[in-house]
Amino acid sequence: MTFLAYSQKFTADKTYIKFFSNAAIEDISAVNTKSSSIFNEATGDIVFSIPIKEFEFAKSLMKEHFNDKYMETEQFPKATFQGKISGYQPTATGEQKASATGKMTIHGVTEDVEIPGTMINANGVLTMKAKFMVKLQDYKITIPQLLWKNIAEQVEVTVEFNYKSL
């Protein structure tokens, strides 16, 4: 049983997380390709770990502000998600709708979330895609008073992870 469960674990080998903020002064986007994730196909359990300092921006100053003022990365170096995937049929191939339910921790604040997405199973390579909004306020990410309002109150997060069997 244990052996069986082990063989059904998938680990992410290619990760892509993008966030996009649409605000009056400027659009800001950043990409992170240094995350990690394990998905247990047998139980549906899934975990993500996202190193905040690996978000890359077009401007050095944006990255600096993001880490120093918004995310307080020294204190909260990682964002995590742990939960369960439901609606995914391991035996089916092709694209299927699924959703992840669980606890998302960003900036040291944990929230219960449900994220709809799609899973694609093709020749043992599993691709997971999702797009959702994150409200800064939910995670106590505040905008310093002296900083111009050049970031939106909610940001769009796009996730695309490729998994291979562990």
């Binding site: 994730s37 401007k59 050095s60 003022k69 742990q82």
Partner: protein
Amino acid sequence: MKKIFTLTFLLSGICSFAQDDLMKELEQNQKAEVNYVTQTFKGTRIINGQSVETKGKGELEFIFSHRFEPISTGAYQVWGLDGYPAVRLGLEYGITDRLGVGIGRNFYYDNKMEDLFLRYKIARQSSGAKSFPVTITGVGTVMYQPYPNAADAASNGIPNPSTSDRMSYAAELLIARKFSSKFSAQIAPTFIHRNAVDKSIENNDDIAIAFGGRFRVTRSLSLIGEYYSRMNVHANSPYYNSVGGGLDIETGGHVFQLIFTNSLGLNPNTIVTHTDTKPGDVRFGFNISRTFQITKRK
């Protein structure tokens, strides 16, 4: 009903345990990382002198600094604000995240000076897989003084200065540590060489040790301080050690530094060799920097 509840509770407990285990497995698989410390100081200047910070790759910083007349000039001069005897306009460009080049145009009273410097971050404070206690940045500056002209130079004790006579050089080794997100400190041995000086009151070579610090009050506001201790003061030197304190305020792409100092020095030479006001007789001043990203990072 109670049983079902207990069962559900137990199951959900098991599930989240399973996820915790999965998370542990994930963390074990992660390679140990090197965490480099960032933002030891907010800007490239602490007060008058340089900080260990370099500009990011492709960033261009425009920095302008003013120092006013001493506050002791009183209400008629609006406590010094009516006169600005020292101004520096400067640009600095990040060639890489660790290597930068800068130029500046200074005047203080009737003297004019250009400075050109290279800044390189030799070592970075880090923790994790590779641990290093401090950030070390070297700054080399060449300065050229087109003024005073020949006639005025005589009264400065250097008659008929040649191009070489107008040159001076500075080497600074900046060593800083960010002790916490609130407190950073820097020590900087500084060496100045001037080709021509008035030997009755000045040395050709000067050594000073600069001490600087930053204490963060809020996310955008810090207290800053700096002191230059001259090691080999000429017996007849009419000059003083440079000292200053102030507030560091950051908004979007700007850093505003509101400063109280006794120095008109805005480059290493004038800071060390020409601080002409007694430490108790302070001037108000400011540095304002604006950073532009010239080339995109990715």
